[in-house]
């Protein structure tokens, strides 16, 4: 805990095998994940960065048109990576991951077809909210066993409560726990027609109600779904337990990303508390997008030759920035006070980050390798390349 903030990140990049980047939406999580991955690759590791965000933000970050769920290698040679440092990127295809999971755990072709063709399954496994988190976990397990990579950096979905992600395996298990649900729903399937012979009166009530609101067809789909999953439950449960184990390993670690506003920092605080409670490995906080105000000690020497109007406007803008910056630093101080951990602070850059050069710059800031945020005077965002990409979408 006493290690300087940059050092904690630096160590994690050198030693850990899984880094999970978490935080609320809009705080620069994806950029941070990709920048960390690039940094680690430049230091000689074989890194995969995986985003599970269906809006394909990483693709934007990496300046790629499409990113698929197959790991694709980035060309990072011009950054001069150490030794055999390499970097891959991919996005998670929720539906395909779910299908693969089903294929792996079904006993035979018929069972597989029954599930993959089930109407309920089709809805559950495609883009509906919730499935992303389940499948992110599943994919993580796969990737952590992939010999090609010695570090996997996982960007997480911007869930309202970042915790949804941690709890995904448990919720999936709760949902698929057929021993209970089957008890309610099996009669439908077995009889192939409406039967309400269930063991308890509550069960009967539940069925009646379910039938009233959901309709028989849906219940049949649903019970078929659960019956089909029956044989897979053991396999699923095992996977979920493994995910749990992986997340707690010493060589895994969470990086919590926030913005400088009180609201997103509050969420980070909460998430941190939960990580500690669950004995999950924590690496550090990153606070992105702090507004710059320069150094307070400056200002000696003769006054500059600037006309009054410009001078007044400059003072006005400066005061706006300073007010904002002070509020931001107060928020950051609170995070530090309450957790005893100093966050890594990343100033808001003057341009957008949407290519490897930008990621390189952010990566350097994250590990404390660069002092000045605007060392290359980035004003390139409104560039031809960016405009071209926009038009292609």
């Amino acid at each position: 805990m006493s290690a300087p903030p940059h050092q904690a990140l630096q160590d994690a990049l050198a030693e850990r095998r899984i880094i999970i980047v978490s935080g609320s939406g809009g705080v620069g999580k994806t950029t941070t994940a990709a920048a960390l991955a690039l940094r680690a690759a430049l230091q000689g590791r074989r890194v995969l960065v995986c985003t599970i965000d269906p809006s394909r933000r990483l693709a934007t970050s990496l300046g790629l048109e499409t990113l698929s769920d197959r790991a694709r290698e980035m060309d990072i040679r011009r950054f001069g990576p150490a030794e055999d440092g390499r970097m891959w990127a991919m996005t998670l295809d929720t539906k395909r991951t779910f299908d693969t999971l089903v294929e792996r755990h079904t006993p035979d072709e018929a069972a597989r077809r029954r599930i993959l063709g089930n109407r309920f399954y089709k809805q559950v496994s495609s883009a509906l909210a919730g499935s992303h988190e389940y499948m992110a976990m599943e994919k993580l397990l796969d990737l952590s066993a992939d010999a090609r990579f010695d570090l996997v950096v996982l960007d997480t979905p911007p869930t309202r409560h970042a915790l949804d992600f941690l709890e995904a395996p448990e919720r999936l298990m709760g949902f698929l726990d057929t021993s209970v649900l089957r008890w309610f729903l099996k009669p439908y399937f077995v009889a192939g027609r409406l039967t309400l012979k269930v063991a308890t009166r509550t069960g009967a009530f539940f069925l009646k109600l379910a039938d009233r609101v959901l309709g028989l067809q849906f219940l049949q789909d649903l019970s078929e779904f659960f019956l089909a999953f029956e044989g897979m439950y053991g396999g699923f449960k095992e996977r979920a337990a493994q995910v749990h184990e992986v997340l707690r390993r010493d060589d895994a670690g969470f990086v919590l990303v926030a913005g400088p506003s009180a609201l997103t920092l509050d969420e980070s605080l909460y998430f941190h508390r939960r990580l500690v409670e669950r004995e999950m490995p924590f690496v550090g906080f990153v606070v992105n997008r702090l507004h710059p105000v320069g150094e307070a000690s400056a200002g000696r020497g003769p006054a500059p030759d600037i006309d009054d109007d410009l001078g007044d406007r400059l003072v006005e803008v400066f005061k706006d920035y300073r007010r904002l910056s002070k509020a931001e630093m107060r928020n950051v101080a609170r995070l530090e006070n309450e957790t005893g951990v100093a966050p890594v602070l990343v100033p808001e850059l003057e341009g957008d980050v949407h290519d490897l050069d930008g990621l390189d710059e952010v990566g350097a800031l994250l590990v404390g390798a660069a002092a000045a945020p605007a060392r290359r005077g980035r004003t390139r965002a409104p560039s031809v390349a960016a405009a071209g990409r926009g038009a292609a979408r």
Binding site: G25, G26, A127, L128, R160, L214, F218, A296, Y321
Partner: protein, 317 residues
């Protein structure tokens, strides 16, 4: 103009990536609607911190609360909405209690994909349909929905479509189709997308507006570009600042204002302003709907005044 167009509807849904300030825009829009004499309900969904705090109101749990005369707010918690639905459907207290206490119900609700969204949208439909008094008139003239920023883009709005496919018969399927037709009815519903002048937020807004139209048949009526850096220097001054900022400038501009620091802040502002211009253009080109820029607020804390200022900007749009 744009405001009139939005206020003519019954339902305005604000969508956008997390962190773009949807709740700020939603509150400003609600204030603007109220200034037009509308009884307006701002609907938040499972928000940990309600926008009511901007108005100095206490975010109360459960039920629609009048935070200012004519301005109501409610925070819909999917779980509570679901429980309420079970109670209504079961009719008999005892049965409802048995179900609500059943662990299967809890697990099912916690994991069933789409169910929370469907419940919330159903509740919104009920609120839209609510009539009071005699002759009957809508309880609320306008409902503004601060849609959850799940980053799953369309998924919130997609749920009724998915549900009506998954549950072809029965009341749930029926209701899902009713919700869908409310969302698709351009006379009653307007979709507005919120973004900030940043690559990812803008790309997402464009994609969102596109797929809402293509996949769901819901047309985007407005695009709010929030947190815009607006021009504060003349073009000549900007050039001068950029030139000066590249050198070492000594001295102070005012007590406590070092020239170098002021120039750094100004340069940051100028670059952000240029980005703002760039993204405004890009949005206008990519989206058919009107694009409304809203200023970046340097306020330490958002207050009713800052929101009222935004409301006036909406008025002028």
């Amino acid at each position: 103009m744009l405001l009139d167009d939005l206020l003519r509807r019954r339902l305005v849904i604000l969508s956008g990536k997390g962190g773009v300030g949807k709740s700020v825009v939603g509150t400003a829009l609600a204030l603007a609607a109220r200034d037009h004499g509308k009884r307006v309900l701002l609907i938040e969904i499972d928000t940990p911190v309600s926008a009511a705090r901007f108005l100095g109101a206490n975010p109360s749990a459960g039920g629609e609360t009048e935070v200012l005369p004519g301005l109501f707010m409610v925070n819909l918690d999917p779980r509570t909405v679901m429980d309420e639905y079970v109670r209504q459907t079961a009719r008999v207290d005892l049965i409802a209690r048995k179900i609500l206490e059943n662990p299967v119900y809890h697990r099912f609700f916690a994991a069933a994909p789409g169910l929370p969204e469907l419940m919330v949208l159903g509740k919104i439909m009920v609120l839209e349909e609510e009539r009071v008094g005699w002759p009957r008139r809508p309880r609320f003239d306008l409902l503004i929905v601060d849609a959850p920023a799940t980053g799953h883009g369309l998924s919130f709005l997609k749920v009724p479509l998915a549900a009506s496919n998954a549950v072809p018969v029965g009341p749930v399927g029926h209701n899902a189709r009713r919700i869908l037709s409310l969302l698709r009815d351009p006379k009653r519903t307007a979709l507005a997308v919120v973004a900030i002048p940043e690559e990812m937020a803008v790309v997402e807004a464009i994609e969102f507006a596109g797929s809402a139209g293509k996949e769901l048949g819901i047309e985007t009526r407005a695009l709010f570009l929030n947190a815009c850096h607006e021009r504060r220097f003349t073009a000549a001054q900007e050039m001068e600042i950029l030139a000066l900022a590249a050198t070492d400038v000594p001295g102070r501009l005012a007590p406590g204002v070092p020239a170098a620091a002021a120039l750094t802040a100004a340069r940051h502002h100028i670059r952000r302003r240029k980005l703002t211009q760039f993204y405004l253009k890009r949005l206008k080109k990519a989206v058919g709907a009107p694009v409304v820029p809203l200023p970046f607020l340097f306020d330490e804390r958002l207050t009713r005044q800052s929101l009222q200022a935004l409301a006036e900007r909406l008025e002028a749009a």
